[in-house]
Symmetry: C2
DNA sequence: CCAAAATGAGTGATTACTCACTTACTTTGG
DNA sequence: CCAAAGTAAGTGAGTAATCACTCATTTTGG
């Protein structure tokens, strides 16, 4: 529970302030999440934001840039949160707890932004592709790669059995991400955070299994 | 291993035969998987299929219908596979093994179709929405709901601890689905089936945890 | 010889984006 | 103190390209 040092940064996406730029971002975000980037017209964004269509191009180079900027905000936010977990030194269980809790917190905090990330990340290959999965020693640039790095370190330290960290990271993330996707698709209501203890137990369970495999 | 009674039905999506209808379906499928329904023009489908644009409308009412028919094929296929697992009576572990193995098999068998399902199911609310999550006693019409039904029965029978079958089903599915998504996004290569034993162990591990919770 | 298959030019609607212009402030100079 | 000049914000009609879809016509195969 002692993670007061980590603050959830909300950068890139303006909160709901009065500026027209923020209005455009929130309007675009909701429409992109709902209909996908290619399913939304600049006209509809301007209408929803209550501004003229031309104004979009004062703040953003084009529609695609606007869409990418929004995606980058949540993508980086999630990635850095997992990196923050990896830098903690209270053990793997603590790191898992940290990630699960903050992941749900970030999702609940701006559900539209999170929904956009879950549903439409694949629209941006540069953020999600093999480019982002480079196994080099550099900084991980996706939640998945950050998790891989964390688990690789745990394997190195002998905390969990050695194995394919890439697959194991995906399995562990899936325990939280699939319920999130299910909620996005309407399978249940209420905050994701309500299920944090269940998710934590599930992730730890998946990680421990490698001991006997 | 004794599931010879279950045959993987490939219905709806023509295999690669010589007919122009099949050519159109395969061309559209690949483009839809790659760029999303709204990111693909009828012109590009016709070009890739090597037929005229007008021919699309002899076989399909419109672009959206074509896209939905393809999605329905894989969606129903996965749902019925899980229902087939639920009707087996050799115990939960056997059912899990059946689902994991056949899920990976279906994915590997037509990776483009599976990729389309993973990335773009949300484009069809009628297939993925709360409508498909109706908790009534009718037939489940999504993989998620079929899994919920299976786990509810297991809870009823006392095989696993009672709990929120909706969330638990999502967690269990996530152990397989998230690696699948990771592969779709390029995190690793090779067939999904290569990891079946690991997935099986992971799913069982997640399900057993409820015993002590 | 004809019905079904296939074509591709054509339709009106919609697209992302531009640009000449207005409006609302702020800064400057006497 | 205040008019003039300058600047950034905002507008919306306009543009060329593309969109999904239609249909009169031609090709094909039995």
């Amino acid at each position: 529970m002692s993670d007061a040092s980590y603050v959830n940064p909300l950068r890139g996406v303006s909160a709901v302030d009065g500026t027209n730029k923020a209005k455009i971002e929130r309007a675009a975000l909701w429409l992109f999440a709902e209909h996908g980037v290619d399913g939304v017209s600049t006209k509809s964004i301007a209408q929803r934001a209550g501004v003229s269509e031309g104004l979009l191009y004062r703040y953003f180079k084009n529609k695609e840039t606007l869409a990418r900027e929004l995606m980058r905000a949540i993508h980086i936010r999630l990635t850095e949160m997992i990196m923050a977990a990896a830098s903690r030194e209270a053990g793997l269980a603590d790191q898992v707890s940290f990630i699960v809790r903050h992941y749900c917190e970030i999702a609940d905090d701006d559900w539209t932004l999170f929904r956009y990330h879950i549903l439409h990340l694949h629209h941006f290959p540069s953020l999600s592709d093999a480019a982002g999965h480079s196994s080099g020693g550099g900084w991980p640039n996706s939640p998945h790669m950050a998790a891989v790095k964390l688990l690789s370190a745990a394997m190195e330290a002998g905390v969990i059995a050695r194995g394919d960290a890439n697959i194991l990271a995906a399995m562990a993330l899936g325990v939280v991400l699939q319920p999130a996707q299910a909620k996005v698709l309407g399978a249940f209501d209420g905050p994701l955070s309500a299920h944090v203890p269940l998710f934590e137990a599930g992730v730890l369970s998946v990680l421990n299994l490698t001991k006997e495999a």
